[in-house]
């Protein structure tokens, strides 16, 4: 019988499901906008230019606080991911050394 860690299974399941869902939703939305704005008629061309103008007029100063927080959170997330990888590696090594007892305390 395979040794399945339920928490790890849940974690991977959640991670994959949410990532795939978010990717599909984002791709769908971007594709919808692309199809809508690619049309060659006059009014869509006008709208396309207007969207570009709106994007260029966006002032990042109004959102810089949130942006910095998002960047810091992303960095923290990757650090935790890295730590998780190290711990997983330690666990695998311990299992390989002593299959019965995972770790021996000094």
């Amino acid at each position: 019988m395979p040794d399945i860690d339920l928490f790890r299974f849940f974690r991977y399941m959640l991670g994959w499901t949410v990532t795939i869902y978010a990717t599909i939703i984002t791709a769908q939305s971007l594709w919808g906008w692309y199809v809508y704005l690619i049309s060659a008629d006059r009014y869509t061309a006008l709208l396309r230019r207007y969207v570009i103008v709106q994007a260029l007029r966006l002032r990042f100063k109004a959102f810089w606080g949130d942006l910095i927080l998002c960047i810091l959170l992303t960095i923290a997330f990757f650090l935790l991911w890295h730590a998780q990888g190290i711990l997983d590696h330690i666990e695998d090594t311990m299992k390989a050394i002593n299959p019965v007892r995972t770790i021996t305390h000094a």
């Binding site: 997330f77 730590a83 007892r101 770790i103």
Partner: protein, 287 residues
């Protein structure tokens, strides 16, 4: 040699408008006469069709050789509705329609252009006074009489109506869309035309109709300006609202991203704690 092509330096600017004699000769008689009349030629002076063709061709050459700025001076002086980038021939046709004999405010070059188009012989030594004299001498007796009658009628009508306005400056029409057209369309000032002068030039009905048309045009322009200003205001308002909506939308998306990141971080920390406990305290999970 009527069939010989004119010298290149004297060719008109627009070859489509100024046709060579061969093409002019192919025109139907009534069209040729209309063209000659529009160009200010007295069609009854030319006994044969051949003479008329030659006269139209010569008139085209004369128009092409005229100074453009001087023609614009005459257009301003005559208060004709034309764009600044109108071709020479169109300007010449408008100048020909100007019947006024009041030359106040018209420059020397403008007088030269007017005199040439009215068929007056102009010498380089002619000054403003002599040009004015020649132009007045060129007017026929009956034309003068008719003009005086119209002037008298005009003064009566303007006294009855009370000619108070017409102090507005002359403005060219907006320039036509053409790649060769000059881009500047600055309005130029000129003398105001009184009702009396208008009646003197266009007759009683023509003068009054012109004045009514001018008032209607002014009213319409005013209304169009108001509508345009209202549309501009509305567009600015829409733009402002869209900008606000865009800012709110970006802030909202960032908030959602922040919440997602926090959630991911919490899950990652729990997962890390779990792994830590599992590695260092396996007894918790034993059995």
């Amino acid at each position: 040699m009527p069939d010989a092509p004119p010298p290149a330096s004297r060719l008109p600017e627009d070859p489509a408008r100024a046709m060579p004699p061969r093409q002019l000769r192919d025109l139907p008689t009534d069209e040729l006469r209309t063209l000659a009349d529009e160009l200010g030629l007295d069609i009854f002076r030319y006994s044969t069709r051949h003479h008329l063709v030659l006269a139209v061709h010569e008139r085209h050459q004369l128009i092409a050789a005229l100074d453009r700025d001087a023609m614009l001076d005459v257009i301003k002086w005559g208060r004709r509705p034309l764009p600044l980038n109108a071709p020479n021939e169109q300007m010449a046709k408008e100048i020909v329609r100007i019947k006024s004999m009041r030359f106040d405010g018209l420059s020397h070059d403008g007088l030269v252009v007017l005199a040439k188009l009215r068929g007056v012989t102009v010498r380089p030594s002619d000054d403003v006074a002599s040009l004015t004299r020649k132009l007045k001498r060129q007017e026929s007796f009956f034309a003068k009489l008719s003009r005086k009658r119209r002037s008298f009628l005009g003064s009566i009508v303007s006294n009855i109506i009370g000619d108070t306005d017409s102090a507005d400056d002359y403005q060219f029409l907006p320039p036509e869309q053409s790649p060769e057209a000059p881009s500047s369309g600055t309005p130029a000032s000129s003398r105001p035309a009184s009702l009396k002068e208008e009646i003197e030039e266009a007759g009683l009905l023509g003068g009054i109709a012109g004045r009514i048309k001018k008032s209607a045009d002014f009213y319409l322009n005013q209304k169009l300006d108001e509508i345009e200003a209202r549309i501009d205001r509305k567009l600015s308002e829409i733009d402002q609202r869209l900008s606000e909506w865009r800012d709110k939308e970006v802030a909202n998306r960032l908030r959602i991203l922040k919440i997602t990141l926090w959630a991911s971080l919490v899950v990652a920390i729990i997962s890390l704690l779990y792994s830590y406990l599992k590695v260092y305290f396996p007894s918790f999970f034993a059995g």
